[in-house]
Subunit: 236 residues, 2 copies
């Protein structure tokens, strides 16, 4: 008789359905039992949650939890409001300043939910697929932000205060280029055809190929010398 | 013709419907235009949100926003799960250790939502009615936690990073006794008959008088030499 005993520790992984979080999930799965967490936050499109569910199943996570939250009342972003998503911007435009697709306090809210779940699971590891290079305009994608959140989190929780757990926020992609992220994911067996990056998909879910997120993704595959396996809407 | 121009700055105030947050709201209202924020987070009782709404109206806030969030899936607290609320505990028991009514990461999640709203409003002031004395067992009610959150928040937001705003988390009650909180609130005109503190109210909303929260409240009124204006369930 063979009895298999799970010796890996649990980790909470934030999963958006995009290329970065799918890669992060694959990295975490090497060493942890994964609890994946996604959010329904008034996105204009549900396709990212469908992608998140498929990625979670393909990765064999222990549990995939979709949390309903409403950021629409807060307002202020093209991803949740009726603001136009910018298209065909130059690389220099994408890299400079904070885009209209920035959602106020989004990563802080997501990490806070992950913190609560980690505490209940007795987990001391949270993974988030943020990247400081591609999205230099997002304040909550920088290493100093992640460190400050980690410090706060260790003062916020019963486990942290009692010294039972030292919580760590892992952001393994933070300093990687998109091409490096794609290469890493492929080595770990990520199926990028399951992922979704577009801010403004066409009916049927086809990626537009023109928003900042599509452009960064396409450039990443180009620089890695690979073809992006997802389908794009034909150019008008 | 008289034209009144609002020169006060906006502030986001977290409002639970309890005695502490009602007092905090009154303190904030002296100097700020108040945007009150409450949460429907799977509480076992809706009476606290009804109280929050009445307090917000009485205080004449600009906007009272009730945000729907679900902490129940996270589990682990007597306030949201089917765990019994402890009754008739001694003062020494209330003050020692972290109670089962602790909700993992709750204040962090609440402050994160407030942060997002503050950013959209262009506000640099968030008020929270936490108290380190009565609830010494709650890690996220201590000054070092508030400071760490504030530091993280200023790294998280567009406004903070661009140097346009320096966000401040105000916790005016943090070092006050319950009796001092009550005295302060009465001076500012708070109607404590509108507030609700009980963790486990009887049918009809009567406070139990026996849970930790009721005991702390009753002791506060006693020490202030005043009668609590709310009604309590008769002792069995």
């Amino acid at each position: 008789m063979h009895i298999s005993v799970e010796t890996r520790k649990p980790a909470v992984v934030l999963l958006s359905g995009g290329l970065d979080s799918a890669t992060t999930l694959a990295i975490a799965s090497q060493d942890y039992v994964v609890y994946a967490m996604s959010f329904r936050y008034g996105q204009r499109h549900s396709i990212e949650l469908e992608c998140a569910a498929r990625i979670a199943i393909a990765a064999g996570v222990t549990l995939h939890r979709i949390v309903d939250i409403d950021l629409r009342g807060t307002g202020g972003s093209a991803l949740t409001d009726e603001i136009d998503v910018p298209k065909d911007r130059l690389q220099s435009e994408i890299e400079s300043g904070i885009p209209v697709t920035y959602v106020p306090a989004r990563n802080t809210i997501f990490l806070s939910y992950a913190l609560g779940w980690a505490e209940v699971l007795g987990s001391q590891d949270i993974f988030i697929g943020i990247n400081a290079l591609d999205y230099s305009g997002y304040p909550d994608c920088r290493p100093e932000y992640v460190e400050a959140f980690e410090r706060m989190a260790n003062l916020a929780t019963k486990a942290g205060v009692e010294g039972r757990l030292r919580l760590e926020i892992h952001a393994p992609l933070i300093a990687m280029t998109k091409a490096d992220i794609i290469r890493t994911g492929l080595l770990l067996g990520v199926d990028y055809s399951l992922t979704h990056s577009c801010y403004d998909p066409a009916p049927g879910g086809l990626a537009c190929g023109r928003c900042d997120s599509c452009q960064l993704r396409l450039r990443g595959f180009r620089e890695a010398g690979l073809a992006d396996p997802i389908r794009y809407a034909p150019r008008e």
